[in-house]
Protein backbone atom coordinates (compact mmCIF):
# COMPACT_ATOMS: atom_id res chain seq x y z
CA UNK A 1 0.00 0.00 0.00
CA UNK A 2 1.32 3.40 -0.98
CA UNK A 3 1.41 6.32 1.48
CA UNK A 4 -0.12 8.63 -1.13
CA UNK A 5 -2.91 6.25 -2.23
CA UNK A 6 -5.76 7.80 -0.29
CA UNK A 7 -4.59 11.31 -1.03
CA UNK A 8 -4.51 10.74 -4.81
CA UNK A 9 -7.71 8.73 -5.01
CA UNK A 10 -9.76 11.05 -2.83
CA UNK A 11 -8.17 14.39 -3.48
CA UNK A 12 -11.57 16.03 -3.79
CA UNK A 13 -12.45 14.99 -0.26
CA UNK A 14 -9.07 16.12 0.96
CA UNK A 15 -9.47 19.48 -0.79
CA UNK A 16 -12.90 19.95 0.68
CA UNK A 17 -11.68 19.11 4.21
CA UNK A 18 -8.73 21.43 3.70
CA UNK A 19 -10.95 24.33 2.76
CA UNK A 20 -13.19 23.58 5.76
CA UNK A 21 -10.10 23.61 7.91
CA UNK A 22 -8.93 26.90 6.45
CA UNK A 23 -12.31 28.53 6.94
CA UNK A 24 -12.61 27.41 10.56
CA UNK A 25 -9.05 28.58 11.13
CA UNK A 26 -9.51 31.95 9.46
CA UNK A 27 -12.71 32.79 11.28
CA UNK A 28 -11.57 31.77 14.75
CA UNK A 29 -8.00 33.01 14.37
CA UNK A 30 -8.78 36.44 12.94
CA UNK A 31 -11.33 36.94 15.70
CA UNK A 32 -8.74 36.04 18.32
CA UNK A 33 -6.12 38.31 16.76
CA UNK A 34 -8.52 41.25 16.68
CA UNK A 35 -9.98 40.73 20.11
CA UNK A 36 -6.64 39.66 21.59
CA UNK A 37 -4.97 42.86 20.37
CA UNK A 38 -7.85 44.88 21.72
CA UNK A 39 -7.75 43.24 25.16
CA UNK A 40 -3.95 43.37 25.24
CA UNK A 41 -4.03 47.10 24.50
CA UNK A 42 -6.89 47.82 26.88
CA UNK A 43 -5.31 46.19 29.89
CA UNK A 44 -2.10 48.16 29.39
CA UNK A 45 -3.85 51.55 29.40
CA UNK A 46 -2.96 53.77 32.32
CA UNK A 47 -6.19 53.23 34.22
CA UNK A 48 -6.05 49.45 33.82
CA UNK A 49 -2.39 48.97 34.62
CA UNK A 50 -3.08 47.65 38.09
CA UNK A 51 -4.72 44.64 36.45
CA UNK A 52 -2.09 44.06 33.78
CA UNK A 53 0.01 41.68 35.81
CA UNK A 54 -3.04 39.76 36.93
CA UNK A 55 -4.17 39.25 33.33
CA UNK A 56 -0.66 38.31 32.27
CA UNK A 57 -0.44 35.68 34.99
CA UNK A 58 -3.89 34.40 34.18
CA UNK A 59 -3.14 34.11 30.48
CA UNK A 60 0.20 32.42 31.06
CA UNK A 61 -1.62 29.83 33.19
CA UNK A 62 -4.29 29.50 30.51
CA UNK A 63 -1.58 28.84 27.95
CA UNK A 64 -0.59 25.71 29.79
CA UNK A 65 -4.10 24.24 29.76
CA UNK A 66 -4.24 21.48 27.11
CA UNK A 67 -6.34 22.36 24.08
CA UNK A 68 -8.44 19.23 24.54
CA UNK A 69 -9.54 20.47 27.94
CA UNK A 70 -10.78 23.77 26.47
CA UNK A 71 -12.57 21.97 23.68
CA UNK A 72 -14.19 19.60 26.16
CA UNK A 73 -15.29 22.48 28.37
CA UNK A 74 -16.81 24.50 25.55
CA UNK A 75 -18.49 21.31 24.33
CA UNK A 76 -20.09 20.83 27.75
CA UNK A 77 -21.72 24.23 27.56
CA UNK A 78 -22.53 24.57 23.88
CA UNK A 79 -22.85 20.99 22.61
CA UNK A 80 -21.63 19.70 19.29
CA UNK A 81 -21.30 21.75 16.10
CA UNK A 82 -19.22 24.03 13.97
CA UNK A 83 -19.84 27.09 16.13
CA UNK A 84 -18.69 25.24 19.23
CA UNK A 85 -15.50 24.31 17.42
CA UNK A 86 -14.91 27.82 16.18
CA UNK A 87 -15.60 29.26 19.60
CA UNK A 88 -13.22 26.94 21.42
CA UNK A 89 -10.51 27.59 18.83
CA UNK A 90 -11.08 31.31 19.24
CA UNK A 91 -10.69 31.07 23.01
CA UNK A 92 -7.62 28.91 22.79
CA UNK A 93 -5.75 31.03 20.25
CA UNK A 94 -6.81 34.24 21.94
CA UNK A 95 -4.51 33.71 24.90
CA UNK A 96 -1.09 34.05 23.22
CA UNK A 97 -2.23 37.22 21.43
CA UNK A 98 -3.35 38.85 24.67
CA UNK A 99 -0.26 37.71 26.52
CA UNK A 100 2.24 38.89 23.94
CA UNK A 101 0.49 42.17 23.17
CA UNK A 102 0.29 43.12 26.83
CA UNK A 103 3.77 41.95 27.79
CA UNK A 104 5.28 43.55 24.68
CA UNK A 105 3.76 46.91 25.59
CA UNK A 106 4.37 46.69 29.33
CA UNK A 107 8.06 45.84 28.83
CA UNK A 108 8.85 48.99 26.86
CA UNK A 109 11.23 51.20 28.80
CA UNK A 110 9.12 53.72 30.73
CA UNK A 111 11.47 56.59 29.88
CA UNK A 112 10.70 56.15 26.19
CA UNK A 113 7.00 56.56 26.86
CA UNK A 114 7.72 59.53 29.08
CA UNK A 115 9.82 61.22 26.42
CA UNK A 116 7.03 60.65 23.92
CA UNK A 117 4.64 62.31 26.34
CA UNK A 118 7.11 65.09 27.01
CA UNK A 119 7.33 65.82 23.30
CA UNK A 120 3.61 66.36 23.17
CA UNK A 121 2.27 63.11 21.76
CA UNK A 122 -1.32 62.34 22.68
CA UNK A 123 -2.17 58.97 24.27
CA UNK A 124 -3.39 57.76 20.90
CA UNK A 125 -0.24 58.89 19.11
CA UNK A 126 1.89 57.19 21.75
CA UNK A 127 -0.06 53.95 21.27
CA UNK A 128 0.17 53.87 17.50
CA UNK A 129 3.55 55.52 16.90
CA UNK A 130 5.50 54.21 19.86
CA UNK A 131 3.99 51.40 21.93
CA UNK A 132 2.59 49.16 19.21
CA UNK A 133 5.57 49.68 16.92
CA UNK A 134 8.13 48.85 19.60
CA UNK A 135 6.07 45.89 20.86
CA UNK A 136 5.53 44.62 17.31
CA UNK A 137 8.16 41.84 17.36
CA UNK A 138 6.61 40.40 20.53
CA UNK A 139 3.08 40.86 19.20
CA UNK A 140 4.02 39.08 15.99
CA UNK A 141 5.43 36.10 17.81
CA UNK A 142 2.13 35.90 19.71
CA UNK A 143 0.12 36.07 16.51
CA UNK A 144 2.26 33.43 14.80
CA UNK A 145 2.09 31.21 17.82
CA UNK A 146 -1.66 31.65 17.89
CA UNK A 147 -1.97 30.70 14.20
CA UNK A 148 0.06 27.51 14.54
CA UNK A 149 -1.76 26.48 17.71
CA UNK A 150 -5.09 27.20 16.03
CA UNK A 151 -4.37 25.08 12.97
CA UNK A 152 -3.17 22.19 15.13
CA UNK A 153 -6.06 22.41 17.57
CA UNK A 154 -8.56 22.68 14.72
CA UNK A 155 -7.62 19.10 13.93
CA UNK A 156 -8.75 18.00 17.37
CA UNK A 157 -11.88 20.14 17.12
CA UNK A 158 -13.10 17.72 14.47
CA UNK A 159 -14.41 15.50 17.28
CA UNK A 160 -16.96 18.13 18.29
CA UNK A 161 -18.14 18.80 14.78
CA UNK A 162 -15.55 21.23 13.56
CA UNK A 163 -15.00 19.34 10.31
CA UNK A 164 -11.70 19.91 8.54
CA UNK A 165 -8.66 17.72 8.12
CA UNK A 166 -9.08 16.30 11.61
CA UNK A 167 -11.98 14.25 10.26
CA UNK A 168 -9.63 12.49 7.83
CA UNK A 169 -7.00 11.90 10.50
CA UNK A 170 -9.47 10.47 13.01
CA UNK A 171 -10.93 8.20 10.30
CA UNK A 172 -7.43 6.98 9.51
CA UNK A 173 -6.72 6.39 13.19
CA UNK A 174 -9.95 4.46 13.62
CA UNK A 175 -8.97 2.16 10.71
CA UNK A 176 -5.28 1.95 11.52
CA UNK A 177 -4.80 3.24 7.96
CA UNK A 178 -1.54 5.09 7.49
CA UNK A 179 -2.45 6.31 4.01
CA UNK A 180 -5.63 7.98 5.29
CA UNK A 181 -3.84 9.46 8.29
CA UNK A 182 -1.19 10.81 5.95
CA UNK A 183 -3.82 12.40 3.70
CA UNK A 184 -4.85 14.50 6.71
CA UNK A 185 -1.46 15.09 8.28
CA UNK A 186 0.31 16.27 5.12
CA UNK A 187 -2.08 19.10 4.19
CA UNK A 188 -2.41 20.22 7.81
CA UNK A 189 1.36 20.47 8.12
CA UNK A 190 1.68 22.31 4.82
CA UNK A 191 -1.08 24.65 5.94
CA UNK A 192 0.65 25.44 9.24
CA UNK A 193 4.01 26.00 7.61
CA UNK A 194 2.54 28.17 4.86
CA UNK A 195 0.59 30.40 7.21
CA UNK A 196 3.60 30.78 9.49
CA UNK A 197 5.84 31.65 6.53
CA UNK A 198 3.39 34.26 5.28
CA UNK A 199 3.30 35.80 8.74
CA UNK A 200 7.10 35.69 8.93
CA UNK A 201 7.34 37.65 5.69
CA UNK A 202 4.76 40.13 6.94
CA UNK A 203 6.68 40.50 10.19
CA UNK A 204 9.89 41.22 8.35
CA UNK A 205 8.12 43.89 6.31
CA UNK A 206 6.42 45.58 9.23
CA UNK A 207 8.89 45.42 12.10
CA UNK A 208 11.39 48.29 12.20
CA UNK A 209 15.00 47.36 11.43
CA UNK A 210 15.97 49.43 14.42
CA UNK A 211 14.52 46.75 16.69
CA UNK A 212 16.43 43.86 15.17
CA UNK A 213 19.43 44.37 17.37
CA UNK A 214 18.41 44.16 20.95
CA UNK A 215 22.00 44.47 22.08
CA UNK A 216 21.55 46.17 25.40
CA UNK A 217 19.45 49.25 25.82
CA UNK A 218 19.65 52.00 23.31
Amino acid sequence: MNLFDYLFNNYQIVLQRTSEHIIVFLISWSASVLIGLLIGILITREKMQKYTNFVLTLSSIAQSIPSVAIIALVFLFFGIGKLTAIFSLFIYSLVPVIFNTASGIINIDKTIIEVAEGMGMSKKEILFKVELLIALPTIFSGIRNSAVINIATATVAAVIGGGGLGVIIFTGLAHYNVSIIFAGVLPVSILAITIDSILAILEKKLVSKGLLYEEGKL
Partner: protein
Protein backbone atom coordinates in the same frame (compact mmCIF):
# COMPACT_ATOMS: atom_id res chain seq x y z
CA UNK B 1 10.28 82.31 27.58
CA UNK B 2 10.84 83.45 31.17
CA UNK B 3 9.46 81.01 33.73
CA UNK B 4 8.36 81.92 37.21
CA UNK B 5 7.90 79.52 40.11
CA UNK B 6 5.66 80.83 42.89
CA UNK B 7 5.56 78.76 46.07
CA UNK B 8 5.66 75.55 44.07
CA UNK B 9 5.63 72.26 45.98
CA UNK B 10 5.26 68.67 44.94
CA UNK B 11 4.47 65.89 47.35
CA UNK B 12 4.66 62.20 46.60
CA UNK B 13 2.44 60.64 49.25
CA UNK B 14 3.62 62.51 52.34
CA UNK B 15 7.11 63.35 51.20
CA UNK B 16 8.05 66.60 49.52
CA UNK B 17 10.01 66.09 46.30
CA UNK B 18 10.29 69.86 45.97
CA UNK B 19 9.20 72.38 48.51
CA UNK B 20 8.27 76.04 48.20
CA UNK B 21 10.18 76.81 45.06
CA UNK B 22 10.31 80.53 44.39
CA UNK B 23 12.53 81.51 41.54
CA UNK B 24 12.56 82.94 38.08
CA UNK B 25 14.27 81.46 35.05
CA UNK B 26 15.68 84.14 32.79
CA UNK B 27 14.67 84.48 29.19
CA UNK B 28 17.23 83.33 26.60
CA UNK B 29 19.74 82.26 29.25
CA UNK B 30 21.06 78.93 30.46
CA UNK B 31 19.94 78.18 34.00
CA UNK B 32 21.55 75.16 35.62
CA UNK B 33 19.97 73.09 38.38
CA UNK B 34 22.53 71.22 40.44
CA UNK B 35 22.45 69.17 43.61
CA UNK B 36 22.83 65.64 44.93
CA UNK B 37 20.75 62.75 43.62
CA UNK B 38 17.15 62.82 44.80
CA UNK B 39 17.12 66.53 45.60
CA UNK B 40 14.28 67.30 43.18
CA UNK B 41 15.97 68.48 39.98
CA UNK B 42 14.11 66.15 37.65
CA UNK B 43 10.84 66.85 39.43
CA UNK B 44 11.34 70.60 38.94
CA UNK B 45 11.88 70.07 35.22
CA UNK B 46 8.88 67.81 34.83
CA UNK B 47 6.65 70.26 36.67
CA UNK B 48 7.20 72.64 33.77
CA UNK B 49 6.11 70.30 30.97
CA UNK B 50 3.55 68.82 33.33
CA UNK B 51 4.84 65.26 33.23
CA UNK B 52 4.43 65.78 36.96
CA UNK B 53 1.57 67.93 38.29
CA UNK B 54 2.44 70.15 41.22
CA UNK B 55 0.67 69.78 44.54
CA UNK B 56 0.52 73.52 45.17
CA UNK B 57 1.83 76.83 43.91
CA UNK B 58 1.87 78.40 40.49
CA UNK B 59 4.16 78.20 37.49
CA UNK B 60 4.02 81.02 34.96
CA UNK B 61 5.40 80.90 31.45
CA UNK B 62 5.50 84.31 29.80
CA UNK B 63 3.36 85.42 32.71
CA UNK B 64 0.68 82.84 31.93
CA UNK B 65 -0.16 79.96 34.25
CA UNK B 66 0.81 76.63 32.69
CA UNK B 67 -2.66 75.35 33.55
CA UNK B 68 -4.11 77.82 31.06
CA UNK B 69 -2.19 76.23 28.21
CA UNK B 70 -3.32 72.92 26.69
CA UNK B 71 -0.93 70.27 27.98
CA UNK B 72 -0.15 68.77 24.58
CA UNK B 73 0.31 72.18 23.01
CA UNK B 74 2.56 73.29 25.87
CA UNK B 75 4.80 70.26 25.43
CA UNK B 76 5.13 70.71 21.69
CA UNK B 77 6.53 74.16 22.39
CA UNK B 78 9.12 72.84 24.84
CA UNK B 79 12.17 70.86 23.76
CA UNK B 80 12.90 67.93 26.07
CA UNK B 81 16.21 66.08 26.25
CA UNK B 82 17.03 63.34 28.73
CA UNK B 83 19.99 61.16 29.49
CA UNK B 84 20.83 58.18 27.34
CA UNK B 85 17.86 56.23 26.11
CA UNK B 86 15.60 59.01 24.98
CA UNK B 87 15.63 58.20 21.26
CA UNK B 88 12.94 56.01 19.75
CA UNK B 89 14.71 52.75 18.85
CA UNK B 90 12.30 51.93 16.02
CA UNK B 91 12.76 55.25 14.25
CA UNK B 92 15.67 56.35 12.09
CA UNK B 93 17.55 59.53 12.92
CA UNK B 94 15.34 61.34 10.42
CA UNK B 95 12.10 60.07 11.93
CA UNK B 96 13.30 60.76 15.46
CA UNK B 97 14.02 64.39 14.66
CA UNK B 98 10.84 64.72 12.62
CA UNK B 99 8.52 63.62 15.43
CA UNK B 100 7.26 67.01 16.59
CA UNK B 101 7.21 68.64 13.12
CA UNK B 102 5.08 65.70 11.97
CA UNK B 103 2.77 66.12 14.96
CA UNK B 104 2.45 69.75 13.90
CA UNK B 105 1.66 68.67 10.32
CA UNK B 106 4.53 70.50 8.68
CA UNK B 107 4.80 69.91 4.92
CA UNK B 108 7.24 67.11 3.97
CA UNK B 109 9.75 69.40 2.30
CA UNK B 110 9.98 71.73 5.25
CA UNK B 111 10.58 68.78 7.58
CA UNK B 112 13.33 67.39 5.37
CA UNK B 113 15.13 70.73 5.20
CA UNK B 114 14.74 71.28 8.91
CA UNK B 115 16.23 67.86 9.76
CA UNK B 116 19.27 68.52 7.58
CA UNK B 117 19.68 71.99 9.06
CA UNK B 118 19.55 70.59 12.59
CA UNK B 119 22.02 67.79 11.91
CA UNK B 120 24.43 70.40 10.62
CA UNK B 121 23.80 72.49 13.71
CA UNK B 122 24.83 69.64 16.02
CA UNK B 123 27.83 68.89 13.81
CA UNK B 124 26.66 65.59 12.41
CA UNK B 125 27.20 64.60 8.79
CA UNK B 126 23.58 64.26 7.70
CA UNK B 127 24.38 61.99 4.76
CA UNK B 128 26.08 59.58 7.11
CA UNK B 129 23.52 59.39 9.89
CA UNK B 130 20.12 60.42 8.57
CA UNK B 131 18.93 56.88 7.78
CA UNK B 132 20.60 55.15 10.67
CA UNK B 133 18.83 53.69 13.68
CA UNK B 134 19.85 54.67 17.22
CA UNK B 135 21.62 51.38 17.85
CA UNK B 136 23.96 52.16 14.96
CA UNK B 137 25.14 55.42 16.55
CA UNK B 138 27.73 56.12 19.21
CA UNK B 139 26.60 57.55 22.55
CA UNK B 140 27.77 61.01 21.59
CA UNK B 141 25.99 60.88 18.23
CA UNK B 142 22.78 59.77 19.89
CA UNK B 143 22.91 62.64 22.31
CA UNK B 144 23.44 65.08 19.44
CA UNK B 145 20.40 63.63 17.70
CA UNK B 146 18.55 64.03 21.00
CA UNK B 147 19.44 67.72 21.07
CA UNK B 148 18.52 68.14 17.40
CA UNK B 149 15.18 66.45 18.02
CA UNK B 150 14.39 68.75 20.93
CA UNK B 151 15.13 71.78 18.73
CA UNK B 152 13.11 70.48 15.78
CA UNK B 153 10.06 72.71 16.03
CA UNK B 154 12.17 75.67 17.17
CA UNK B 155 10.87 75.79 20.75
CA UNK B 156 11.75 78.80 22.83
CA UNK B 157 12.32 76.67 25.89
CA UNK B 158 14.59 73.66 26.27
CA UNK B 159 14.48 71.29 29.25
CA UNK B 160 17.60 69.17 29.52
CA UNK B 161 17.83 66.51 32.23
CA UNK B 162 21.46 65.41 32.64
CA UNK B 163 21.69 65.10 28.86
CA UNK B 164 25.41 64.39 28.80
CA UNK B 165 25.58 62.40 32.03
CA UNK B 166 26.33 59.06 30.41
CA UNK B 167 28.89 60.35 27.92
CA UNK B 168 32.64 59.93 28.42
CA UNK B 169 34.46 63.08 29.62
CA UNK B 170 36.08 63.97 26.30
CA UNK B 171 32.88 63.73 24.30
CA UNK B 172 31.00 65.49 27.08
CA UNK B 173 33.25 68.53 26.68
CA UNK B 174 32.63 68.47 22.94
CA UNK B 175 28.86 68.23 23.41
CA UNK B 176 28.94 71.11 25.88
CA UNK B 177 30.77 73.20 23.29
CA UNK B 178 28.18 72.21 20.69
CA UNK B 179 25.44 73.34 23.05
CA UNK B 180 27.16 76.64 23.80
CA UNK B 181 27.58 77.28 20.09
CA UNK B 182 23.93 76.54 19.47
CA UNK B 183 22.97 78.83 22.30
CA UNK B 184 25.10 81.61 20.85
CA UNK B 185 23.22 81.29 17.56
CA UNK B 186 19.70 80.51 18.73
CA UNK B 187 19.36 82.14 22.16
CA UNK B 188 16.93 79.73 23.79
CA UNK B 189 15.75 79.68 27.35
CA UNK B 190 17.49 76.56 28.64
CA UNK B 191 16.95 74.77 31.92
CA UNK B 192 19.79 72.32 32.34
CA UNK B 193 20.06 69.68 35.07
CA UNK B 194 23.44 68.27 36.01
CA UNK B 195 25.31 66.94 39.01
CA UNK B 196 28.68 67.93 37.55
CA UNK B 197 29.80 71.31 38.92
CA UNK B 198 32.31 71.78 36.14
CA UNK B 199 29.50 71.42 33.61
CA UNK B 200 27.33 73.79 35.64
CA UNK B 201 30.02 76.49 35.71
CA UNK B 202 30.82 76.04 32.05
CA UNK B 203 27.24 76.23 30.80
CA UNK B 204 25.31 78.19 33.37
CA UNK B 205 24.55 81.88 33.20
CA UNK B 206 22.81 81.23 36.48
CA UNK B 207 22.97 78.28 38.85
CA UNK B 208 20.36 77.05 41.33
CA UNK B 209 21.72 74.73 43.99
CA UNK B 210 19.17 72.25 45.31
CA UNK B 211 19.15 70.30 48.54
CA UNK B 212 16.31 68.09 49.79
CA UNK B 213 13.79 69.66 47.45
CA UNK B 214 14.64 73.24 48.31
CA UNK B 215 16.77 75.86 46.64
CA UNK B 216 19.78 76.68 48.80
CA UNK B 217 21.15 79.42 46.60
CA UNK B 218 20.19 80.83 43.23
CA UNK B 219 22.55 83.29 41.66
CA UNK B 220 24.62 84.17 38.65
CA UNK B 221 27.49 81.73 38.24
CA UNK B 222 30.11 84.25 39.24
CA UNK B 223 28.21 85.43 42.32
CA UNK B 224 27.68 81.87 43.45
CA UNK B 225 31.39 81.17 43.15
CA UNK B 226 32.37 84.39 44.88
CA UNK B 227 29.81 84.29 47.66
CA UNK B 228 28.76 80.76 48.51
CA UNK B 229 26.03 81.12 51.11
CA UNK B 230 26.96 78.15 53.27
CA UNK B 231 29.17 75.12 53.73
CA UNK B 232 26.90 72.99 51.55
CA UNK B 233 27.36 75.30 48.56
CA UNK B 234 31.10 75.43 49.19
CA UNK B 235 31.20 71.65 49.14
CA UNK B 236 29.21 71.51 45.91
CA UNK B 237 31.54 74.08 44.35
CA UNK B 238 34.66 72.19 45.40
CA UNK B 239 38.15 73.61 45.38
CA UNK B 240 38.42 74.18 41.64
CA UNK B 241 35.36 76.33 41.12
CA UNK B 242 37.20 79.62 40.70
CA UNK B 243 39.72 78.10 38.38
CA UNK B 244 36.96 76.39 36.42
CA UNK B 245 35.23 79.69 36.08
CA UNK B 246 38.31 81.39 34.65
CA UNK B 247 38.78 78.44 32.36
CA UNK B 248 35.29 78.73 30.87
CA UNK B 249 34.64 82.44 30.89
CA UNK B 250 35.68 84.23 27.73
CA UNK B 251 38.01 87.20 27.47
CA UNK B 252 35.23 89.18 25.76
CA UNK B 253 33.44 89.54 29.10
CA UNK B 254 36.33 91.60 30.52
CA UNK B 255 37.19 93.94 27.67
CA UNK B 256 38.01 97.52 28.67
CA UNK B 257 38.70 100.62 26.63
CA UNK B 258 41.66 101.95 28.62
CA UNK B 259 44.01 102.12 25.61
CA UNK B 260 45.28 104.33 22.78
CA UNK B 261 46.22 103.43 19.25
CA UNK B 262 49.21 104.78 17.37
CA UNK B 263 50.96 103.93 14.14
CA UNK B 264 54.38 105.05 15.28
CA UNK B 265 56.30 105.11 18.54
CA UNK B 266 59.13 107.36 17.37
CA UNK B 267 58.46 110.30 19.70
CA UNK B 268 56.67 108.77 22.65
CA UNK B 269 57.88 109.34 26.16
CA UNK B 270 54.63 109.46 28.05
CA UNK B 271 51.15 107.96 27.64
CA UNK B 272 47.91 108.71 29.43
CA UNK B 273 46.35 105.33 29.08
CA UNK B 274 47.44 101.99 30.51
CA UNK B 275 48.24 100.57 27.16
CA UNK B 276 49.36 101.86 23.78
CA UNK B 277 48.56 99.61 20.87
CA UNK B 278 50.71 99.94 17.81
CA UNK B 279 48.68 99.45 14.70
CA UNK B 280 49.49 100.16 11.07
CA UNK B 281 47.17 98.04 9.00
CA UNK B 282 47.56 95.16 11.38
CA UNK B 283 48.44 94.62 15.01
CA UNK B 284 52.15 95.36 15.45
CA UNK B 285 52.54 95.15 19.21
CA UNK B 286 51.88 97.18 22.32
CA UNK B 287 53.60 99.31 24.93
CA UNK B 288 52.56 99.51 28.58
CA UNK B 289 52.58 102.70 30.63
CA UNK B 290 54.90 101.01 33.09
CA UNK B 291 57.28 100.03 30.32
CA UNK B 292 57.85 103.68 29.44
CA UNK B 293 58.44 104.91 32.95
CA UNK B 294 61.50 102.78 33.20
CA UNK B 295 63.25 105.00 30.71
CA UNK B 296 63.19 102.82 27.69
CA UNK B 297 60.32 101.70 25.53
CA UNK B 298 59.66 98.04 25.37
CA UNK B 299 57.47 96.69 22.60
CA UNK B 300 55.57 93.50 23.34
CA UNK B 301 53.85 91.18 20.85
CA UNK B 302 51.42 89.11 22.88
CA UNK B 303 47.66 89.40 22.62
CA UNK B 304 44.49 87.36 23.15
CA UNK B 305 41.38 86.92 21.02
CA UNK B 306 37.94 87.65 22.53
CA UNK B 307 36.93 83.97 22.46
CA UNK B 308 39.97 82.74 24.38
CA UNK B 309 39.46 81.85 28.01
CA UNK B 310 40.38 84.25 30.77
CA UNK B 311 42.64 81.55 32.18
CA UNK B 312 44.68 81.66 28.97
CA UNK B 313 44.97 85.43 29.26
CA UNK B 314 46.10 85.09 32.87
CA UNK B 315 48.70 82.54 31.84
CA UNK B 316 50.22 84.95 29.36
CA UNK B 317 50.20 87.77 31.92
CA UNK B 318 51.95 85.62 34.52
CA UNK B 319 54.50 84.43 32.01
CA UNK B 320 55.56 87.98 31.12
CA UNK B 321 54.80 89.51 34.48
CA UNK B 322 52.43 92.12 33.04
CA UNK B 323 49.01 93.29 34.17
CA UNK B 324 47.19 93.78 30.92
CA UNK B 325 46.92 92.44 27.38
CA UNK B 326 45.43 93.72 24.12
CA UNK B 327 42.36 91.87 22.85
CA UNK B 328 42.56 91.54 19.09
CA UNK B 329 40.00 89.84 16.84
CA UNK B 330 41.31 87.32 14.33
CA UNK B 331 40.66 89.78 11.49
CA UNK B 332 43.00 92.23 13.25
CA UNK B 333 40.23 94.40 14.65
CA UNK B 334 41.19 95.95 17.98
CA UNK B 335 38.62 95.06 20.66
CA UNK B 336 40.29 96.61 23.70
CA UNK B 337 42.38 95.37 26.57
CA UNK B 338 41.95 92.94 29.43
CA UNK B 339 43.34 93.82 32.87
CA UNK B 340 44.53 91.59 35.66
CA UNK B 341 42.83 93.62 38.43
CA UNK B 342 39.51 93.43 36.66
CA UNK B 343 39.67 89.66 36.42
CA UNK B 344 40.65 89.19 40.01
CA UNK B 345 38.25 91.79 41.39
CA UNK B 346 35.23 90.76 39.38
Amino acid sequence: MPIKFINVSKKFKDVYAVKNLNFEIDDKKITVLIGPSGCGKTTTLKLINRLIERTSGEILINGLSIDKIDKIELRRKIGYVIQEIGLFPHYTVFDNIAVVPKLLNWPKNKIKNRVIELLNLVNLDFKEVINKYPYELSGGQRQRVGVARALAADPELLLMDEPFGAIDPINREILQDVLLNIQKKLKKTILFVTHDIREAIKLGDKIAVFKDGEIQQYDSTINLIKNPKNKFIENILGINAKLNYLEFVKVEKFIEKDFLVTNSISNINKIEKECLIIFTNKFEGFVLKTDIKKGHIKIRNDYVTPDQSVLEALNIMFKHNIHCLPVIEKNNEIKGIIKYEKIILK
